[in-house]
Every structure is written in C-alpha cells, then in structure tokens.
Subunit: 249 residues, 2 copies
Amino acid sequence: MLLKSRVKYIQSLGHKKSRQEAAEFILEGPKLLDECLRADPARINAVYALETWLQDHKALLDQIPSAIVEPVSPEELEKISVLQTPNQVLALAQKPEPSEPPARIDMPVLVLDAIQDPGNLGTLVRTADWFGLTHVVCGHGCADQFNPKVVQSTMGSILRMQVSYTDIGTWIRSLADVPVYATMLEGRNIFTMDPIDRGLILVGNESRGLDPALAALATERVTIPRKGHAESLNAAVAAGVVLAALCGR
Amino acid sequence: MLLKSRVKYIQSLGHKKSRQEAAEFILEGPKLLDECLRADPARINAVYALETWLQDHKALLDQIPSAIVEPVSPEELEKISVLQTPNQVLALAQKPEPSEPPARIDMPVLVLDAIQDPGNLGTLVRTADWFGLTHVVCGHGCADQFNPKVVQSTMGSILRMQVSYTDIGTWIRSLADVPVYATMLEGRNIFTMDPIDRGLILVGNESRGLDPALAALATERVTIPRKGHAESLNAAVAAGVVLAALCGR
C-alpha cells in the first residue's frame, strides 16, 4: 500500500517547483517506461505498477535493481496518475542536468518562443525528433519540458532530445552568422525553399505568434500559404510542415 | 443568476447523447462566437457572458435578437465552461443537420479512421480548412465533432467545414474510380509526389495507425520518411505534412 505521504509527493511532481526541488519527473505507461529503460535505465528511481504488470515484467525490473518498486492498486494508480486513463505503470525518473543551448549551429535547431500548451510542446519535441533534429531551444515563456503532460506527449522523445531554456533573443544575438528562419503568417512560401543543413527555425506562441523582437532577428521569414479559410494553423502542425519542408526531404 | 437546472443542462452538453437529444452544442470565447456570428448568426440560441463583455458587445448582440442572453458571474461561467480558463463568454449553438459523405469526389477529402482524441480531431479539421479542403469524413470510431473540446480546437473551422460520419470502408467501396492515399509508416515518400486535385487522404488511429482493411483499399500508400528516432508522428502533425505535400503547394 502506498503511504499517504508518498501519494502526496508524487502528486506534487505535477508542479514545476516541486520537480525542481526533487530533481525527478513522472513518466507513465509501459511504452514510455520501456523507452526510458532503453535510453538510460539508471535514470529510473521508482516504479509504481499494478501487480499484474509487475508479474509480467520481472526481467525488465532486474535491469533496475536500485529502483524502488511498489505494487499499487488501480485506485492508488488513479490517485497518482496524471492521465485520464491510467496505464498500468507510473515511474519516477531522475531529471538530467539542465542543458545549455548550442553555442555553434552546425545543424537545424527548433527554437520555440512561448509554447504554453504542454501537449503542443511535447508534440513539437516529438516532431523535431522524427525529422532528425537533436536540439530544441525554448524561451522562458514555454511550458516546462518535465511537466507530466509534456513528457507524455513527447512519446519518449524527451529522453533523446536536448531541450534547453534560455533568453532566446540574447542567445540568437550571441551566435555568429547563423540563418534564422521565422515561421510567420506572411513570408516566403515554404514550399519554394531548398532543404537546409543548418540554422534556427523559430516558432511562436499559439495565439500571439512570434514575438516581433524575435521576428526582427530573422534572416528569412517563411510561411505556409493558406488555401482555405482557417485563421491559423496549430503551432505543432505548422512546425511539422516547416520542419518537413526544410529538414524532412 | 443562472438557474441550477440551466447549469445542469449546459453541463450535460459535454455528453454526446445529450447533444443529440438537444441538437445544441457549446462554443466558448469571443473569437469562436465571432466566427459563428460571421458564418451563421441564426445558429446561436443562447449567450452566457460576463456583464463587462455584454456591455462591450451590444451591437453584436443586436444581430441575434432571438437568442437568450444572460449575464453570468465568473463563478457561474466556471461551472458551465469546459475550458481550463473560462473566456468571458459561452454560447449554445444549433447543431446543423448531419451531413452525408460526398458521393462524388472531385476534390481532396480528408478521411479519418478512428481519431479518438478530441484535440487531435479538432486540429485535423482546422488543418484541412487551412489547406482548402471542404470535407472531412470520419469513421464511427472518431470523437464527436460537437464535443466541446473538438469545437474549441477547430478554432472556428467546425462552422465552415462539412464533417460527416459513416462506415468508411463501405463508403469508399461505393465510390467509383477514386484515388485513395493511405498515410502509413511504410509507403511512397510523400515528398516525391505531385500535388493532387482530387482523392481521399486516409489517416488512422493515434496509436494503432490505419485499419488494415482500410489500408487495403488504398491505391497508393504514402509515408513521411523518418530521419531521426521518434517512433511515430502525432496524427494531426502527420496529416498536416501530408495535406501540405498533396494539397498545399
């Protein structure tokens, strides 16, 4: 049985401040745990799972002898889960050291101005991973990468990608001679552009778009031409289309 | 003050069955209401808004003389809202008659197998609207288009797009000589394809992908080549990239 204090602690990891103090984050479901075990098993600190799941995954648990492993009831899992439908297992993982934004840009890097929705941020990290990027640089206005909803919607990419937080404007100005592509509602038709092998791809806030001060740092403004009537595209979809055009082909 | 029975009624519209019986759906926030007023003002049956908002929008309310208009307190709005942060105004709109899937395909049509996440479904409808499509055909496994979360994430596109529900397999077999593009993890590189002016673009379930029985109806399987390590793309992002390649250029 899970102690009340433990339940409270795990629930507290839904808040950024608690995650910072504890240096732990939540990941849920067999798939994500499996990704974490493949990427870095030493990172798993604790596993809370239904008895049936534990029985079926003894070999897997042997990989992480130092982790706390506790069976929980479906009711207990419900209490600690952040998912609408809890999925058998919840783990606590050690947060990696905060990473620095790259100081030299010899590859494409996705740069996010103020992506506030955790689902969007996670999807963006996952999309960058699909198209072969290794770095995502976030402005301070972005959701926290270790927010449980971000972690879940990265579908494991959070464990592979370098995600750093910085003052984007200052950072971009510190870089010498780097192409900066700003995704805007008006700019060069993205489908007329050649693939790139280096540079920053800037994507702005879900409703306000890109901060004009950042847009001013762009060497090229790019746009996805609208053929129909929607007022805008979802930020993750827009970034997906731009990454596909610049890095996917 | 909002009657308890009214609060209960509005809350019940979160459920598909109640929406079907009442033939009404919820839309929230000034932007979405504005879209609805531009598209079809007669559809608005009721407006519940903060006093300040009502004061500022008298001219707008003059457009809908037959609608119930009631001031609500922030606490009342919180009770009836489905948003995390209620946004000044909530309206009830008349559901349109269910639309039929098109019987002749002389344009590109997005076809969704079993998109269960309301946010994904709404984003897909919005993306199709951006790229100039007019029809989205959903399998019975999809979320309901009038689910409040779907409505919100379409950002107004729900009011312009024809979204119909049907047994997809039966419908496709009833169509003569139609190109059917199935979005899969393996298939022809989407970036090598020419834009299309007609045909079905099939997108499958978020975790299972496309039903093999539907994939078997494809005249062409298409794929977004993976360059990195993510196991898959989010369904809405994948559809965005495919729609961009086939219909966006």
